[in-house]
C-alpha cells in the first residue's frame, strides 16, 4: 500500500508537469525578467548535428516551464532558509537592499582590461584634440563599493576603485572625474536603488555636481530643477533574478525647469519634447522612463533651435565655431543623468555604443563636437564588447 502511494506520487509528479507543459501555451516574453523567452526550436538535421537544436530545446524547456517564476522564487527562499546571504551573486542585505557582487575575476578579465585601455586611449586622444577641460570620463562605482556597510557580515567584495584608479592614472590630468567621494559621503542617503542595479536619480545628481565642479561648469541648483516622484512601486533587475519578497523602490525625475527640450531619437526615427516617457510606468521596466531606455543616438536641443539634420543639409555644421556641442558616450547609468544637462550646451548628443555603428571620431568631426563626457558604470565596462568601437 505504502509503496504504491510512493509510486503514484512520483508518476503524478513527472507526468503532471509533462502534461502541464504540453498543454500550456508558450509565452513570448517574461515581464519579470524583462527578456524574450526561448521559442520552440525547429528541428533540422543541421541544427541537430551541430548541437544548436538540442541546446535551444533545453533552453526552451527551461524558459517555458510551468510556474517558472514561482519555482525561481521558491528556490531562492530555500537558499535563504539554508542561511545563505549571497544568492546567485547577489547579497541580501538588511533594510531590503539587494546588491550584486561582481568579482575580482570580472575586473581582471581580458575584456575588462582592454575596455579600460580603450577608454584611456580615447579619452587622451580627445583631450589632445579638444583640450583636457573639455573631456571628462566618469566611471561610476556600483552599490557593492559604495554601500559596503550594508552588506552581510564579513562580506568583502572586490573594491571597484582598484579598477577605476587604473583608468584615472592612465588619463591625462583633469580628464577623470572622481565621483566616488561624493557618493561615499552621501551613502546614508538614497543613492542606489534597493532592487535595481542602477543608481538613483539622487545618486546621479551628486555625480552631476562633481562633474560640473571639476569642469568649472555651473550646475543647476536643486531649485532650478523640478523633482518629481514618478513611481513608488519599482522592482528592478536584481529583484527579477531572485523574485523574493522585498520592498519596492521609488523613482524620481530631476528635470530642468524653464527649458523646452527637443529630442531627436535615432536620427529622426522619432522626435519628442521630453526625455521622459511615462508609458514605461505601466510595465515592469520602469527605469526606461528615462529616454525610453537605451537608444543608439539622441540629439537634444532647445525646442525652437535648428536640428542637426537641418544644419547638415545646410552644410554649415563645422563652420559654426561658436556652438558648444557635448557628446555623451554612455551606458544606462547616464539615462537619468542626461535630463539634468539639457541647456548647458547648444546641442547634446547621447550615444550608446551598443546600438551605434558609426565611427565615433568621424562623428565628432562631422557634428562639430566640442566637449565629451564618457559615463559608464564599472560593471558594464568589464564585459561590454561594444566599447571596442572606441578602438582597442
Amino acid at each position: 500500500m505504502g509503496k504504491k502511494i510512493t509510486i503514484i506520487i512520483f508518476l503524478l509528479f513527472i507526468y503532471g508537469f509533462f502534461g502541464f507543459s504540453a498543454l500550456k501555451e508558450d509565452e513570448a516574453y517574461s515581464e519579470l525578467e524583462n527578456r524574450t523567452l526561448e521559442d520552440r526550436p525547429v528541428l533540422t538535421a543541421e541544427g541537430f548535428f551541430n548541437g544548436t537544436y538540442t541546446k535551444n530545446y533545453e533552453n526552451y524547456i527551461q524558459d517555458q516551464f510551468p510556474l517558472r517564476d514561482k519555482f525561481v522564487s521558491f528556490k531562492n527562499y530555500a537558499e535563504l532558509a539554508l542561511g545563505k546571504r549571497e544568492v546567485k551573486g547577489i547579497f541580501i542585505c538588511e533594510d531590503g537592499y539587494l546588491i550584486e557582487n561582481h568579482r575580482r575575476a570580472d575586473y581582471e578579465s581580458e575584456r575588462a582590461v582592454k575596455n579600460a585601455q580603450a577608454i584611456v586611449n580615447a579619452g587622451n586622444r580627445w583631450a589632445d584634440k579638444l583640450g583636457s577641460s573639455h573631456v571628462s570620463v566618469i566611471i561610476a562605482p556600483t552599490a557593492q563599493t559604495i554601500l559596503k556597510d550594508k552588506l552581510p557580515k564579513y562580506a568583502n567584495p572586490y573594491n571597484q576603485s582598484e579598477y577605476t584608479a587604473a583608468i584615472q592614472s592612465g588619463l591625462n590630468e583633469d580628464v577623470y572625474v572622481d565621483i566616488e567621494k561624493t557618493l561615499t559621503e552621501n551613502k546614508e542617503e538614497y543613492v542606489y536603488y534597493k532592487t535595481d542595479h542602477h543608481w538613483t536619480t539622487k545618486g546621479a545628481y551628486l555625480a552631476y555636481r562633481s562633474w560640473c565642479e571639476s569642469k568649472g561648469l555651473t550646475p543647476y541648483d536643486k531649485s532650478e530643477l523640478s523633482i518629481e516622484e514618478a513611481s513608488d512601486d519599482f522592482y528592478g533587475t536584481i529583484h527579477s533574478k531572485l523574485n523574493i519578497k522585498t520592498s519596492p523602490d521609488v523613482i524620481e525625475i530631476y528635470s530642468v525647469k524653464d527649458y523646452n527640450v527637443k529630442a531627436v531619437y535615432n536620427m529622426g526615427a522619432s522626435v519628442t519634447d521630453s526625455l521622459i516617457d511615462k508609458s514605461f510606468l505601466e510595465g515592469k521596466d520602469k527605469y526606461s522612463i528615462f529616454m525610453g531606455g537605451n537608444q543608439g543616438i539622441v540629439e537634444i536641443t532647445e525646442a525652437d533651435n535648428e536640428t542637426v539634420s537641418d544644419k547638415v543639409q545646410q552644410g554649415n555644421v563645422n563652420e559654426d565655431g561658436e556652438e558648444s556641442v557635448l557628446l555623451m558616450i554612455k551606458d544606462s547609468y547616464a539615462n537619468c543623468f542626461v535630463p539634468m544637462t539639457v541647456g548647458m550646451y547648444d546641442r547634446i548628443y547621447v550615444i550608446d555604443l551598443r546600438y551605434f555603428n558609426m565611427n565615433v571620431d568621424t562623428f565628432m568631426d562631422m557634428y562639430g563636437v566640442t566637449d565629451v563626457l564618457v559615463l559608464y558604470n564599472a560593471d558594464t565596462l568589464t564585459d561590454d564588447v561594444y566599447v571596442s568601437r572606441l578602438g582597442y
Binding site: 504504491k4 507543459s21 541537430f48 530555500a78 542561511g83 546571504r85 549571497e86 568583502n156
Partner: protein, 475 residues
C-alpha cells in the same frame, strides 16, 4: 543528456516509461536500446556511431572467443580476446589520450606536432570498459555470449548507466537481459534511489560546488589556511554527492526497468584507512581493475615484489583512467603508494590507535588526494597544499573565509551528516518503533513528504539553473 535536467525528468523519462511498460516484454530491450541511443545522441550526435562500433566489435569478438573456447582452441580464443581489448583500448587511446601523448612527445623531444584537439566522447571510459568486460567474461569466467544484438546493444548503451556508471560487468546483468521481471517492489525501491540521487546531485553537490568554484580560482596570495581547507572539503563533498548521486539515480532507473546494478559508493568518508576508502569509493571501477587487471597479473598470490608491482600498475591505470593529464597519474600513484605502505605495516600499527585518529588520518590523505585530482598544474597543486598547512598563502583566516563559513555553515553540517550512515540509521530506528506501535501510516506520510519535497525543490533548482555542471566529462 543528463539525469539532472528538466528535459530528462519531464520529457524523456515519462515518454520512455510509458512506451516501455505499454509494449510486450519481448520488445522491451529494443525500447531501451532505441531510447538509449536517443539519450546518447542528444548532444553527441556523431559519437553515437563510435559507441555502436564498440558494441559491434565486442558482439562479434564475444562470439569468436566463445567459439574457439568451445572448440578447444585456447590460442585462438586468446587471440580473439586480445583483439577485442586492443580495439577498445585503441578507441580509448585515440579519443581520450592522443593529445596527451602528442603533447608529452612535444615536451620531451622539443617538437611541435600539431595536436588533434579531439573532443572526448561522453562516457567512452565507461562503455569501453563495459564492452571489454563482456569478451573478458566469456574468456575468463565462462559467460555465454549474447545471441541477440539488440540485447547486447541494450547492455552497452543502457541509458541509466551509460555516461557515468556504475560500470556494470556483463555477467552482472546477463540474466536480466535475457529475462527480467519488473515489479512494484523494485519500482518503488527504484524511485527511492532515484529521488535520493537527484537530491544529492542537485541540492547538495551543486550547492557546495559553488564554493569550490570560488576558492579554486584564488591564487596563493589570497588563499588562507581556512579557505584552503574549506575549499577542498567543499570539492570532496561536491564530487562525492555528484558522483554517488548520479550512481544512485542510475541504480534507481535500473530498478524501475527491472535491472539490478551493483552499488558504487558506500559512505567512503567514514573510512578509517585508505584501504577502506577504496573499498567504499567507486566500487565498480575498483572491482573492474581487480578482476581484469590485478588478479590476471597474479594479484597478491605471488612474490612480494610482484605484488607491489601489480598494485602500482593498477593504481597507475586507475589514475590515468580519470583523465588524460599528469595530475591524474600522480593521484593514482599517490594512492598506490599509500596502499602499499598500509598493506606492509601501517594497517597493523593503526589498529592500536583510537579510531578518531584513524579517521583524521584518512580524511587528510583523501583531501590532499583531491587537491592533486583538481589541479592539473603541479605548481598550483603544491601552492594549494602548502597553503593548507600555512606554509604559503595569505595567513590563517580573513573576512572572505569568515564569510564563506557563515554562508555555507549550515550546508556543511547537512553534508557531513549526509555522508555518514547516521540519517539512514535514524530512519530505520524510527521506522522500527513505528512498526511496533502499529502506526505505519506515519512513516508513509513522512517518506512521501520527503520525496515530494526533494522533487519540488530539485525542480526549482533546475528551473533556476544557474549552475549544474557535469563533472565526468574527462572520465
Amino acid at each position: 543528456m543528463i539525469f539532472s535536467s528538466l528535459l530528462f525528468l519531464f520529457k524523456f523519462l515519462p515518454i520512455v516509461l510509458l512506451i516501455y511498460f505499454v509494449v510486450p516484454a519481448k520488445f522491451r530491450n529494443f525500447v531501451l536500446f532505441a531510447s538509449s541511443l536517443i539519450f546518447y545522441s542528444w548532444g553527441e550526435p556523431i559519437y553515437v556511431l563510435l559507441m555502436l562500433f564498440s558494441t559491434a566489435v565486442d558482439f562479434f569478438h564475444g562470439k569468436l572467443v566463445y567459439k574457439y573456447k568451445m572448440s578447444n582452441q585456447p590460442g585462438k580464443a586468446k587471440a580473439a580476446v586480445i583483439s577485442s581489448v586492443v580495439i577498445n583500448l585503441g578507441l580509448l587511446g585515440f579519443f581520450k589520450y592522443a593529445d596527451f601523448f602528442l603533447d608529452s612527445i612535444n615536451n620531451i623531444f622539443n617538437l611541435d606536432i600539431q595536436l588533434l584537439n579531439i573532443a572526448l566522447p561522453i562516457g567512452i571510459s565507461f562503455y569501453t570498459f563495459q564492452t571489454m568486460s563482456y569478451s573478458l567474461d566469456i574468456y575468463m569466467n565462462d559467460e555465454v555470449p549474447q545471441n541477440n544484438p539488440i540485447s547486447f546493444g541494450t547492455y552497452v548503451a543502457l541509458f541509466p548507466q551509460l555516461i557515468a556508471g556504475p560500470i556494470v560487468r556483463y555477467k552482472d546483468i546477463a540474466q536480466e537481459l535475457r529475462h527480467r521481471k519488473e515489479n512494484t517492489d523494485d519500482f518503488f525501491i527504484g524511485i527511492r534511489y532515484f529521488i535520493i540521487g537527484l537530491g544529492k546531485k542537485v541540492l547538495l553537490a551543486n550547492n557546495i560546488g559553488l564554493l569550490w568554484d570560488e576558492i579554486k580560482v584564488l591564487d596563493s596570495s589570497s588563499l588562507t589556511t581556512v579557505s584552503a581547507w574549506l575549499g577542498i572539503t567543499a570539492f570532496a563533498f561536491q564530487i562525492y554527492f555528484d558522483f554517488s548521486g548520479y550512481s544512485d539515480m542510475a541504480i534507481g532507473l535500473g530498478k524501475m526497468f527491472g535491472f539490478k546494478f551493483p552499488i558504487n559508493f558506500d559512505y567512503p568518508y567514514i573510512s578509517k584507512s585508505i584501504t577502506e576508502f577504496w573499498r567504499r569509493w567507486h566500487i565498480t571501477l575498483g572491482t573492474w581493475f581487480r578482476e581484469y587487471v590485478y588478479i590476471p597479473l597474479g594479484g597478491n598470490r605471488c612474490s612480494r615484489a610482484k605484488n607491489i608491482r601489480n598494485i602500482l600498475i593498477v593504481w597507475f591505470l586507475t589514475g590515468f583512467w580519470h583523465g588524460a593529464a599528469y595530475n591524474f597519474i600522480i593521484w593514482g600513484m599517490y594512492f598506490g603508494v599509500i596502499l602499499i605502505i598500509e598493506k606492509t605495516f601501517l594497517l597493523n600499527l593503526m589498529e592500536k590507535i583510537p579510531s578518531v585518529f584513524r579517521h583524521i588520518y584518512s580524511i587528510i590523505l583523501i583531501l590532499i588526494g583531491w587537491v592533486i585530482f583538481e589541479f592539473e598544474s603541479v605548481s598550483k597543486m603544491g601552492d594549494y597544499i602548502l597553503s593548507m598547512f600555512g606554509i604559503k598563502g595569505a595567513g590563517f583566516v580573513n573576512s572572505e573565509a569568515m564569510f564563506m563559513i557563515r554562508e555555507y555553515g549550515i550546508i556543511f553540517i547537512v553534508l557531513i551528516l549526509a555522508s555518514t550512515p547516521i540519517p539512514k540509521l535514524i530512519v530505520n530506528k524510527l521506522g522500527e518503533k513505528i512498526r511496533h506501535m502499529n502506526i505505519q501510516w506515519i512513516s508513509y506520510v513522512a517518506e512521501n513528504a520527503f520525496n515530494i519535497s526533494v522533487l519540488f525543490i530539485s525542480t526549482a533548482y533546475l528551473v533556476d539553473a544557474s549552475y549544474n555542471p557535469f563533472l565526468y566529462f574527462r572520465f
